[in-house]
């Protein structure tokens, strides 16, 4: 999308008819690297942290012009309603405080000074060892199309590491990375000159070859096929950090399904379904609900449907493309049919010639959905097998006896699960977290925060800053 209000700073700002060529991309990479050496490399961590935090503060102001463009144009480009977009942006920019940023560096690198000077935590110091971490000279990023904030988060990481950056945006969502880059350039044009953004249809070997040929580190977010394809073409001088697609689910224990608490739990569950319209890897596909509570799993599904209906008023899902809406419509019909079939079997076993041709699925199914739109759908299925949702606020609720039972059902997606959101009592949470960790989940969080990971979270179970740096160890001569 061409934004007339913004100056042409980046390749992505050029009108769509302006052709990108491999040499244009290569030249851009080279000048970013030159600018980085001159203007970014000498900066101190504390300065950069302050600058990022100050910028985030501006983004949180309701009248900040770039925020307003993001909410309007972003909703148009990405299909999120303005409140959904605002909630997602606020959650992200609220994280970018001085404390969180310094905490992130300390967590990942062991000491907050490690990007500025040789330093070490005390255990290493005792052995006379110091280390300095260096970010990539040119950090290239192939961004995913579904969610904008993971791209922004990596841009922040790149800044902290003093890396020049080349961001290949998804064609479907260039707007937020561009606006974020403009906000940085507005504060400090020299910083903006250490960034480049462009977008082209993925798989363009010539353009991607130019980009990878100039970078020393490439972060890819996308489908496994995209990751594989890029890895194959990557020169040996470039290191690859890949984040393939992951999925997530929720788990609700029986203890929190008392009459009063259940409503709150359902509200939090609804927030996770609605956040970024469920399009991220951290969004739940299924809620497994223990059948030991005073509210049965079906009852929880009903409560969740009420919460989603309320949320639709405050934070509408927004319009979908016909194919996305049709996918929901088709999936709904299928489950409605199963529900009708199940009811008729139970009402009058004689009317349906059972086993006449082949056995139809007979597990109980119930469907709750928005009237006259595809805005939200809750499907309760007694069949506990894990199911992937068609997303855009379409969620499954399934019963289970306990966590071990749920994990058995989720075995098909083991190794691909990012986050499990849990609603439980304090007493059980530790035991559950341990069980989930041993099963291979990379993040456990309370329900209601699934799409809202802290800045320093370990993406796909890997420390995100530490993953990007190169170290220089210095073993001091013993005195």
């Amino acid at each position: 999308m061409h934004l007339p209000a913004l100056p042409n700073l980046f390749l992505a700002d050029l009108p769509p008819e302006a052709p990108l060529t491999p040499s244009l991309v290569r030249d851009a990479c080279i000048s970013v690297k030159r600018n980085r050496t001159q203007w970014l490399l000498p900066r101190r961590t504390s300065e950069l942290v302050d600058l990022i935090a100050y910028n985030a503060d501006r983004w949180l102001q309701l009248d900040y012009p770039l925020r307003r463009i993001a909410l309007q144009a972003g909703a148009a480009e990405l299909g999120f309603s303005t409140p959904t977009m605002a909630r997602g942006l606020d959650a992200f920019f609220r994280q970018l405080t001085h404390d969180h940023l310094m905490g992130w560096i300390t967590q990942d690198l062991g000491d907050s000074r490690r990007l500025d000077e040789f330093s070490a935590p005390s255990a290493e110091l005792r052995h006379g060892r110091l280390a300095l971490a260096r970010g990539p000279e040119l950090l290239a990023q192939v961004a995913a199309g579904n969610l904008p904030v993971s791209t922004l988060s990596l841009m922040v990481a790149g800044l902290l590491l003093r890396s020049g950056q080349f961001i290949k945006c998804s064609q479907r969502s260039t707007i937020l990375p561009r606006l974020f880059a403009h906000s940085l350039a507005e504060l400090e044009p020299k910083l903006g000159a250490c960034l480049e953004l462009a977008s082209w249809p993925g798989g363009n070997e010539a353009l991607e070859g130019s980009m990878m040929g100039e970078s020393d580190c490439l972060v890819v977010q996308g489908s496994d096929a995209v990751v594989e394809d890029l890895r194959r073409r990557m020169p040996s001088t470039c290191r690859c950090v890949a984040h393939g697609h992951r999925l997530s689910f929720g788990f609700v224990t029986g203890e929190v399904l008392g009459t009063f608490l259940a409503k709150k739990v359902a509200e939090r569950a609804a927030i996770d379904v609605a956040a970024w319209n469920q399009l991220g890897c951290l969004s739940p596909h299924v809620y497994y609900v223990e059948d030991t509570g005073s509210l049965a799993p079906e009852g929880f599904a009903a409560a969740l449907s009420e919460a989603l209906a309320r949320l639709e008023n405050a934070e509408p899902r927004g319009a979908l493309r016909p194919d996305e809406a049709a996918a929901i419509d088709q999936r709904r019909s299928l489950h409605q049919l199963r529900a009708a079939h199940h009811r008729s079997l139970h009402r009058d076993a004689i009317t349906v010639p059972r086993g006449a041709f082949f056995e139809a699925p007979t597990a109980e199914t119930q469907v709750w959905s928005s009237e006259g739109s595809t805005a939200w759908t809750v499907v309760y299925e007694a069949d506990p097998a894990f199911r992937t949702s068609c997303l855009n606020r379409f969620i499954y609720v399934k019963p289970c006896r306990n966590l071990a039972d749920a994990l058995r059902r989720a075995e098909v997606v083991r190794g691909q699960v990012s986050t499990v959101g849990i609603a439980t009592t304090e007493g059980r949470s530790q035991e559950l977290a341990l069980e989930l960790a041993r099963w291979g989940v990379s993040r456990v969080c309370p329900l209601g925060r699934m799409q809202d990971p802290p800045l320093a979270w370990r993406h796909d179970g890997r420390p995100s800053l530490a993953e990007l740096v190169q170290w220089t160890d210095w073993e001091q001569a013993s005195s």
Binding site: D329, Q330, L337, V352, P353, S373, Q416
Partner: protein
């Protein structure tokens, strides 16, 4: 009004037959269609328990139905789930399955001799005006068999080898009805059970038609034709089929060959076989229906605006609201098919289409609901 499905079936058959004979579709004008559709709905509601359960869940029954547009539509996916049939157990002899990738549960549409007779009438009644239309090609006319039958060459395996394929059955029917004695099936199953070309038979039939300068009707799926193109490339084959030859291509690829856009497929076929694009007709059909749509009549402009026969109606529905979309807008395609006598007449397809005044244009399949970029598992 028909009081039984047997009676209704006989009525529909005779009306389709009358249409085929006269080219007039008066019986299926709006009032006639509405009456027939409502009468068939009542009979199916009574005889088809799974459909009745579906209708009741929508609060629809024969007594509160006021026009055909209110007939509850069954998604094609439902044919994978339940038996949508009016037959008593044991009364159905044939079952058409949807094609799909291995491991997927197919749709099932049950048939008996009775329902197949209607299927055949429906198929022939619409096939003829679109595929067999004669142009003023005196030379070709003379060279065709004196009984007016056509040399038909199918790239699919024969129906006895693939008894669950409605397409093979359809082609078998056209050969029985319109085919010359030497019509043949040049498809087979390979060692993995996938459809493949029987190269010797295929090349034999092509060469025979060339030698005799007899026009040929070539029928098959899109991937069958891609297999042919691959063969032609490999052996450097290029033919100029006799004037008046025509192709009928149908269906998707299902991962069985490389995928070509319809434009590329047609222009390649045109180049390799010497058949003009006006003589390459695309068929749109599925095992859940008993009628087919065609992109254009042979010799006409290849517009790719599909049309179903007069004993059907199409609806293009907004997936958001479920109501009919405006002209030129995109939505889910649904077909109300009066020839689907023994199953359900209202079928909602898994395809997106653009509504036009004289038919519809296909946009594509509704994406199967997998998380973006992942193909971890399917429903």
């Amino acid at each position: 009004m028909a009081t039984s499905l047997v009676e209704f079936g006989a009525q529909i058959r005779s009306r389709i037959f009358a249409f085929a004979a006269s080219g007039k579709a008066d019986f299926f004008g709006d009032p006639g269609f509405d009456q027939l559709a409502r009468s068939l709905f009542r009979l199916q509601f009574e005889a088809n328990p799974a459909y009745r359960a579906w209708c009741e869940s929508h609060g629809t029954n024969p007594d509160n139905l006021s026009c055909w547009q209110q007939i509850p539509l069954v998604p094609t996916e439902a044919f994978k789930e339940v038996d949508l049939t009016c037959f008593e157990p044991g009364a159905a002899s044939t079952c058409f399955h949807s094609s799909g990738t291995t491991g997927h549960r197919p749709s099932r549409h049950w048939h008996s001799q009775q329902s197949l007779a209607i299927y055949e009438e429906s198929l022939a009644g619409w096939f003829e005006p679109f595929l067999l239309k004669e142009e003023v090609q005196e030379e070709a006319l003379e060279l065709r068999e004196s009984d007016g039958r056509w040399a038909i060459l199918s790239l699919t395996p024969p129906p006895e080898v693939v008894p669950h394929s409605s397409l093979a059955y359809m082609i078998g029917t056209t050969i029985r009805r319109f085919g010359a004695k030497d019509s043949l099936f040049a498809g087979m199953l390979d060692s993995k059970g996938d459809w493949a070309l029987d190269t010797d038979r295929l090349l034999f039939a092509l060469r025979r038609s060339l030698c005799g300068n007899r026009p040929l009707i070539l029928m098959g799926t899109a991937f069958n034709f891609v297999h042919f193109l691959d063969l032609a490339e490999q052996r450097n084959l290029r033919y100029r089929l006799a004037v008046g030859s025509r192709l009928m291509e149908t269906g998707g690829y299902k991962g069985r060959s490389r995928v070509l856009s319809p434009e590329v497929l047609h222009s390649e076929l045109s180049r390799r076989l010497g058949v003009p694009p006006s003589h390459i007709i695309t068929e749109y059909g599925m095992c859940e229906l008993s009628s087919q749509a065609y992109s254009h009549a042979v010799g006409g402009k290849p517009e790719r605006h599909f049309r179903f026969p007069p004993w059907t109606r199409i609806r293009v529905l907004s997936p958001e609201t479920g109501s009919d979309v405006e002209e030129d807008a995109t939505g889910t395609l649904a077909v109300i098919d009066l020839a689907n006598v023994w199953s359900v007449l209202g079928v909602q397809t898994g395809d997106l289409a653009i509504r036009h005044d004289n038919g519809f244009q296909l946009v594509g399949r509704i994406p199967q609901s997998e998380p973006r970029g992942c193909s971890l598992l399917t429903v």
